[in-house]
Subunit: 127 residues, 2 copies
DNA sequence: CGACAGCTTTACGTTTACGTAAAGGGAATT
DNA sequence: AATTCCCTTTACGTAAACGTAAAGCTGTCG
């Protein structure tokens, strides 16, 4: 659209999401595009949010979890209690990511073995 | 239970799943425990399957996707066409894992930044 | 024997994350 | 003026993955 604003289909294309999905995220309070008449105009901030949502989706996060992560980006001033809660949330997320890294490594190993078995079977099959 | 068989609650504890979930996976054809009267007796193979399911779940896989991965472990003889299809499935899964690795790295970086901001805000807050 | 503990089935309910019409506004192109 | 394109709202529908009673079997412990 311009340098700083985006249409819904531009974002849909960029992040491989449907228009319906993007509107749904707005419904859930994760995006807040402005309007030009009826049409939605998305800001850079909206785009960042959507990027986080898409990334979270690929890692199996729920929208609620992505919402929490988005909140970590919001530079609103907070009191001590809130800040400590944020640090805890960050730790929880980090642990989960570590677990996922582990899972991915195991799965990669498994896939590599499966590939070998497959190739061997193909060779035996060739004759 | 013994060295080679498991009860449903043993597996539930080990993989942090509910009994209901495990029974559901059986319903979906991913597990096939034998019976002792009414009670389910799970084999080592069942346990392996469940481990794959749990791992897949943590990475956001659907049950259908986990089912496909489990099939890669099954050493049934296959024809050429099937073997080629398996290799394609393996490639697809691998690509997805690479994407996830990427996503995790970005998310870790983001979380680290958020943590720093948080600590800084806490410091400013102390005075 | 009674009462838990742990397992079972059946079956309806729920949450999440959208999909899918149906009907229409508004600008541009033919 | 009519078509086309892109966007909109409203609203009902759906797939996946279980949750949650309700009611019953089965072994063991006091």
């Amino acid at each position: 659209m311009s340098e700083t604003t985006f249409t819904i289909s531009e974002l849909a294309r960029e992040f491989d999401l449907t228009l319906r999905a993007i509107r749904f995220y707005e419904d859930q309070g994760l995006l807040s595009p402005s309007r030009k008449g009826l049409q939605r105009i998305y800001s850079k901030k909206d785009r960042v949010h959507l990027k986080l949502i898409a990334r979270g989706k690929r890692l199996g996060l729920s929208l609620a979890e992505s919402r929490d992560l988005i909140a970590l980006y919001d530079p609103t001033s907070r009191n001590k209690r809130q800040l400590k809660a944020m640090l805890e949330a960050i730790d929880t997320s980090s642990s989960r990511l570590e677990q996922q890294l582990n899972d991915i490594q195991m799965m990669k190993d498994d896939l590599e073995e499966a590939r070998k078995r497959c190739l061997k079977a193909l060779q035996a099959n060739e004759r």
